[in-house]
Each structure stands twice: as structure tokens, then as C-alpha cells.
Point group: C2
Chain length 178, copies 2
């Protein structure tokens, strides 16, 4: 039954990329990535997300001081900060799930464009400072920063086999089947 | 620059399907859908998800009484209940985002297989009762139920143009670009 399913392949082969070369990212690429975020599902279709696009080197420098993974931010040509818009929120759990779905859409789109990216969460320890740096209103809460660019790492030889140890097997995750 | 990007197309064209015909879903299909869930990213790779597969008609009947959208559950040949495993949790916001990413992987995989599905959240109002029905341990918290099957609705004529009103434009969602 196995014919090539490009979507499943992208889901399985995507991985975090933390090193980037100097090639720039185009506006078209950024727009495709953000448009994918918009098409995530959300509870009652409330679309509770807002985005900040960060490319300016001095701004990335400032942002990089707010996380242990600052070098990733400095090297990435583009970062997208993802915020929860509390004026659109109706249920925190469902809204945060929707944010996760929108981030996954972005990561898959980044991968599908031949780019690489990483989901940065540790920076949430300074979420108020990030919001201030970006002039975000009080109604916006930082959820994640996605850093991306053209991958420097030569990962093309890394296949599914080599990555199989990175996930628990399905049998450990299904507790009921009836 | 536009050559066909199958991943982006899946992200844009996926939509909620709530009516299903009688064709069964194979075990292979269920496994592909769940394997995609496993490949979602999670903070510190903690993989905080657990799944219950529900196919038994009388069980679906019981489940259907716990939501306003019971008819969807009854008609769907398969439901997957998604739980947050609190024994794996380290940060609720990040863990719930990861759950959202894993659900999106499932929805995209369902779409890519020519199936249709819907993310049910309203049932969370009865999350304790769902957990009890499925014999879930106290450490598991219901996050969503995904109902899926072969779509009955004839939606093939519905293109991106017809759906464009369903999302706010990007310009309303980007508040910072520098």
C-alpha cells in the first residue's frame, strides 16, 4: 500500500535546525510560512494568534540576550515570535493547542521549502521582556519564537532510521484500543 | 516561483469533515495517523501525549452522550481521544502546545490519506467522564477527540477561493515587522 505520501514524509523527516548559513530568506517565503500558520484550526475558529517578524540584526542581538539559545537567534536570518491574543481567547487550553497547531504548520512549511527552523520555548522565561522589546500590547502573551533560515548543517544523510530512537514507540502511547 | 508544494496545499485545503460514509478505516491508516502524532515536536522532547482508539459502536454511543456533537462521533468509524500525560508534563503551556502540534499532524495525515476528520473540543466539558469511560488513569487529562473516516460530504468543488473568508488576513495578524 505504500506509495509516497509527501505530507507524512514531511511530518516524519522534519527536525530542529539550529545552524544557518548566510543566504537570506525572501518575503515570499516568510509570507508562505505565516499563511500556513493562519490555516491552523482553532476552537470556534477564534484564530487567537498574532505574529512578530524579526530580521533586524540589532533587534536579534537584543532578543538573543533573553534566552540561553541566543546564538540560534543571532544566526537565524528571520525569527517569528508567536503570541496568544487574549482579546480573542475563550479557553486557554484550547487556545494554546491552536497556537501549537499553527506553529506546527509553520515548521512543516519551513521544512517543505527546503529551509530549517527550530521552536524555541526556553525564552518564555523572559516573555514579558520579549513583549516589551517588540512593543506588544498587554493583551499579547508570548508563546514561542521560531528561528529559521537555510540550514547550514549537512543533515541530508540523516534518515528515519537514525532518528527512530528519538520517539517512544506507539505501543507505549496508546493505552486503550477497543 | 510557484511550483506545487504538497505540504502547503494540504495545510491550506484541510478542513473539518463531520459526515462520514460507511467505509471502514484500516489498521494501517490508524497507525499512520498515530505515528504522525508521535513526530510532533515537544519541549525537551517530553512527548506528553497518550491516545485512546475508539471503534466499538456501543462505546461510541456512550461517548456521544458527552458532547453536543454526538452525531459526529456516532457516524465516524474511528475516534482518537488525545490525553495530556501529567507524569510527562513539565510546563503546561508548552505541553498543551505540543499536544496541539500532534493533533495538527494527525489532521494533516488524515487529509493526506484522502480521509476527513474533525477536532472536537466541546467534549472537554465532560473530560472526567470521558476519562472514566476509557479507563484512563488519574494522570491523564483529556485534550481533544479526533473523529475521522471517509468523507461523505462532496466537498471537492470547494477551493481556496471559497474558503478565503474563513481566516483573518495576514495583515491583521502581524503586529510587528522589522
Amino acid at each position: 500500500m505504500e506509495k509516497k505520501n509527501v505530507v507524512i514524509e514531511a511530518i516524519r523527516m522534519r527536525r530542529s535546525i539550529r545552524k544557518f548559513d548566510k543566504r537570506p530568506i525572501t518575503d515570499d517565503e516568510i509570507n508562505l510560512i505565516l499563511e500556513s500558520a493562519l490555516w491552523a484550526p482553532s476552537g470556534m475558529n477564534n484564530q487567537p494568534w498574532k505574529f512578530a517578524i524579526i530580521r533586524d540584526p540589532s533587534l536579534k542581538e537584543s532578543l538573543s540576550t533573553l534566552t540561553h539559545y541566543g546564538s540560534v537567534i543571532q544566526e537565524a536570518p528571520v525569527c517569528i515570535a508567536v503570541f496568544l491574543d487574549h482579546t480573542r481567547s475563550y479557553d486557554r487550553t484550547k487556545d494554546v493547542q491552536a497556537i501549537g497547531a499553527s506553529i506546527q504548520n509553520m515548521l512543516l512549511t519551513i521544512h517543505s521549502l527546503g529551509l530549517g527552523g527550530v521552536w524555541l520555548g526556553e525564552i518564555l522565561k523572559n516573555k514579558e521582556k520579549v513583549a516589551e522589546l517588540l512593543g506588544a500590547g498587554k493583551e499579547l502573551e508570548l508563546m514561542a519564537v521560531i528561528a529559521f533560515g537555510h540550514p547550514k548543517e549537512e543533515m541530508k544523510g540523516l534518515g528515519e532510521r537514525e532518528r527512530s530512537g528519538m520517539r517512544d514507540p506507539l505501543g507505549k502511547k496508546v493505552f486503550f484500543n477497543q
